[in-house]
Symmetry: C2
Subunit: 219 residues, 2 copies
């Protein structure tokens, strides 16, 4: 076993799950790939049981599907999957954002503002990957304040799946700057703390991102 394991206090399986997740984000692992336990065990210098643990975690996040005695495969996301994910995302966020209004304090807004400035920078550089991560962070930051741990967890899982879908797209429809501006607008609406307005805005926002960014990008 590797010696760093002593430094890291989390179970080994989680660390490996995290690694694999990153690999999927970065397309080192492609959708549809079969993951062979023995190979991964060798690669990470760890026993198969530990790999199995990691795969179970990814399976729970729906990033991977293992069929008994057939092996485990990286989920291949289709447009139908995106439809499903978007629907779930919509009903969760439209609730969570409104509820978050009652819990969010100044420091939370500051965090959002920081994310926005980073977003602006990355928009100028033009790094979609970073932009998506910031997007994820922005939304998660708000949802985290909704006061319902279970809702937060569910959202996390959905968001990761969308992130993977995005990571494996080849082209995007919108410009960097309009992507930033969308979030800036969303932020401004949040500042007003008007429930009705927020509900409408977040719904429009999700629709916007889906339509202008993710749809119709045959490369």
């Amino acid at each position: 076993m590797n010696d760093d394991s002593i430094l890291l206090r989390r179970p080994l399986g989680e660390l490996i799950a995290e690694q694999l997740r990153q690999d999927i984000y970065n397309r080192r692992i492609e959708l549809g790939d079969r993951l062979i336990e023995a190979d991964l065990a060798e690669r990470f210098d760890v026993s198969r049981s530990t790999i199995r643990e990691a795969l179970k975690i990814l399976e729970q996040e729906k990033l991977v599907l293992s069929k008994a005695r057939k092996g485990t495969f990286v989920c291949r996301f289709t447009e139908e999957d995106l439809d499903e994910l978007t629907e779930v995302r919509l009903i969760i966020e439209s609730r969570a954002f409104v509820k978050a209004l009652t819990h969010m304090e100044d420091k939370d807004f500051n965090v959002l503002a920081d994310i926005l400035t980073e977003m602006k920078q990355e928009a100028e550089i033009g790094d979609w990957n970073k932009l998506f991560d910031l997007d994820m962070l922005f939304h998660q930051t708000v949802v985290n304040r909704c006061g319902n741990v279970r809702l937060v967890k569910i959202y996390e899982s959905i968001r990761v799946q969308i992130r993977v879908y995005i990571a494996h797209l080849d082209r995007y429809y919108t410009s960097f700057n309009s992507f930033y501006k969308e979030h800036k607008d969303l932020y401004n609406v949040l500042l007003k703390r008007d429930a009705g307005l927020v509900k409408k805005k977040i719904e429009d926002h999700i629709e916007y991102v889906e339509e202008k960014l993710l749809r119709n990008n045959k490369s």
Copy 2:
């Protein structure tokens, strides 16, 4: 290993998870109990790895929480948990029921009708456990037709948790018959296939069941 394992085509871990789930429903295992892998392994005459697999499944369903190196414990549901669960349940069902309207056919309604007649019988006998299982089945049947697999899965998990919460209550507030009647009403509204009406009814229904059945039952 046990010989039946050849008859059963599912992984052993899943079978054991199912067993444990039932044990929690039937209060053979109490909330807060610690589950010791070695003991379970002996009880089911199976290796610890298999038990670990089962526990991972239950953990994913949030019925059990395992802290690294501290052991795994059956989740102890509080009223706050019920609040959270009810909120998630509400936003999912109010969406799923409306969407199900477009997909439900006659045979689906027949299934519901059958559940209702069974419910009526059990209401006369007075078996809360059976009634709750039928309740679960009723709602799940509709949600299953919403056309979004992910929503269905999420709902399943939430529903199981609520089921456990209910199983560990000592007294209920409402009469058997009004419980049956509530579902009968819900069924009638579904028959009308009016989206707005259904949305309102399912929200009221959930509120009703929570308030009249689950709240304020200090025994």
